[in-house]
Amino acid sequence: MATIVAEATGQAILHEEHGQSFLRKYIFSTDHKVIAIQFLFTTLFFLMIGGLLAMLMRYQIAWPDRTLPGGGILPETMVSSGYILPEFYNSLVTMHGSIMVFFAIMPMLVGVYANYLIPLQIGARDMAFPRLNMISFWLMVPAGLMTLASFFVIGGAAAAGWTLYAPLSGRPDLSGVHLGQQLWLMSLVVLGLSSILGSVNYITTVINMRAPGMTWFRMPLTVWALFITAILALLAMPVLSAAGIMLLFDQTIGTSFFLPEAGGQPLLWQHLFWFFGHPEVYILILPAMGFTSEIIAAGSRKPIFGYKAMVWAIVAIAFLGFIVWGHHMFQSGMNPTLGLSFTISTLLIAVPSAIKTFNWMGTMWRGNLQLHTPMLFAIGFVAMFAIGGLSGIFMASTPVDIYIHDTYFIVAHIHYVLFGGSLFALFGAIYYWYPKMFGRMMNETLGKVHFWLTLVFFNLVFFPMHGLGMVGMMRRIYDATGYQHLQGIEDTNQLITWAAFGLYASGFLFAFNFFWSLWKGRKAEANPWSATTLEWQTPSPPKHGNWKEIPVVYHGPHEFSHPDVTDKDWLAQNERPDVTSPAHTGPAPQPE
């Protein structure tokens, strides 16, 4: 029987732990928890790099006429006689976006937390394919190295924007970037493979490895979100890989898929890119929504409001996510009739997002809010994501998009979703699951300071950008001062830059807290947040193999403050309630 085989391998995992070399245990480990932590350190590094690029960019925007302090240490091809060069600025724009999307946020959401949480939350001993999991991490490393290396090759790093619009990206003679662009594309293909292998693993694990009693509608929302995210990545990444390979061929072996001189179609690139790109946006937000749901339920000591609606909202977002990509292309010369259908699907996708926001608020309603750091970040997520979602409606309305497309309004929107949304939720997730990962708590006071600094600086950076967009400031502009309609915005740009420096600096507060707590943090018990999902019902950090015995699940994921439980305000998923209340707990699994 498969069960017996599964248990046997489980026991094998438990025994295997002893006598492993350092290399097998920490570097080429197949344990999902170790791989998750490897991903965490790698992505935090890339987050720092991506942020640094943003700081350089902000400096240039605020003071285009000043030299960069300390710019002398950078090569002549980046900073010449103290000034940031326009070609380097374009590389900064491109690589900030690419690194943040592909090497920081996405692997942090999926690589770290899908790896860490899926087996623990569904009650499995490990991923379905542990070795594949290891390969998936070790594919990301060379991809990241290629990306970093591209800064130092002749011609510099890719400079056609993270969207790589052809023909600029396909014609080294027009962009001035040769090898950098090719390295970028190769790194993208390798990263795509890594993320496809990861997705195969996550999907299979969720489908086939759930603990007894863990039915689909008893899965924590994190698992739901990560499962659907994996499906999106599985179906969207290969399209990007195919398109990336075609673009690479355009540069290297003389094809002309996207180059119009020989009949190629520049718009085809945009269609393929955004067919990937829009699901990608949801890859970057759905897991964050999952973490938020989890943290808000635990922090409010209440079951999530409308669990099934939350699940169906995730599914709806994922499905609609595949039919809205055209809204990035309203002004691209796309057939205007397509514009109308994309407007409607785009406005539709706002509905499930609204449902989720209201349900989070419904969860907080009449709760007993524990305002610890993870909860603050989760609430911050809801507040910031709401702004990002609402500003998205401007773009969905095609006529308004004519004006605000490619302005700072878009920059504000994307950062409210990706920073205010995904990264806030990620910070929350790091604070929340840190005790489980490392067995110690992060410092709460520093955490709260970090939250408030981040919230204030974040809004100071990105809220004024809506105004810049209304004034008409274009994206990716090296120097805006020459434009007649952009006179008088210098002060705002300088304010934004100062706030951005503050935002970056508060990141180091977080980093300090993170590393300090690794050694000095308060020892964490198994369940420091009194939470209900399975990962909290095993020691912190869990041993190799996760459980002594595979847990059995009796009810849904967020049974807080159940009226029949009087000695505490939570009921773990693997705790059989003394009193069965059929409406809420559902039937217990029947022994066969």
């Binding site: 209440k302 002004q331 109308l340 406005l347 209201f358 007993n368 120097d479 403050s561």
Partner: protein, 223 residues
Amino acid sequence: MPVDWSLPPNLSTQGVPIDTLFWIILILTGIAFVLVEAGIVWFMIKYRGREGRRAHYTHGSTRVEIIWTAIPALVLAALGVYSGTVWANIKSDRSFPDDALTLRVVAKQFEWNITYPGADGELDTGDDFTVRNQLHLPANEPVVVRLEAEDVIHSFFVPELRVKQDAVPGMTIPVWFEATGTGDFEIACAELCGLGHYRMRASVTIHDPADFQSWHASQASGS
């Protein structure tokens, strides 16, 4: 010079519905914004954790959820229909005026070349003339721009006219608009097009129809 935090003054017929739509959305989203943010802050204060307090146990309410699904859905559907109508009036084939002045704008790294029809009023005849980085337009008269690009994708953006359209190499994309006033403005390139992207601008001068005629005549004879 402090900037007026608003949309720039509108000088085009199409700008009227676009701006109206912008302000409608701003009001709607503003209301939602205030409700959500105020709700969050209120909940954070009112329901903050206290010793001995127990949260209200509920799994949700289908009725409430239906309400807050239906209201945004209806508002968004209305917005979609309205947007679609405005969009069709700007972009659909039948929205293009028949007897408009037709220009060709060719974007290339990093300049705008504008070709005007000569005295015959037809493009692609012998008397066309081309001006670099200067767009002259008559007010109160529909203008069709045939947008092309030579090398990479650029984007034709005149903030005051509420016009933005990518110029894609290998395609000719028509855009039309009608200016409602005179003045001096700029074309900006809104799509990253290479290292000179930030300085790819051209002047836009909107004349009285009579002034435009005399400018046009002087250019046409001069070429």
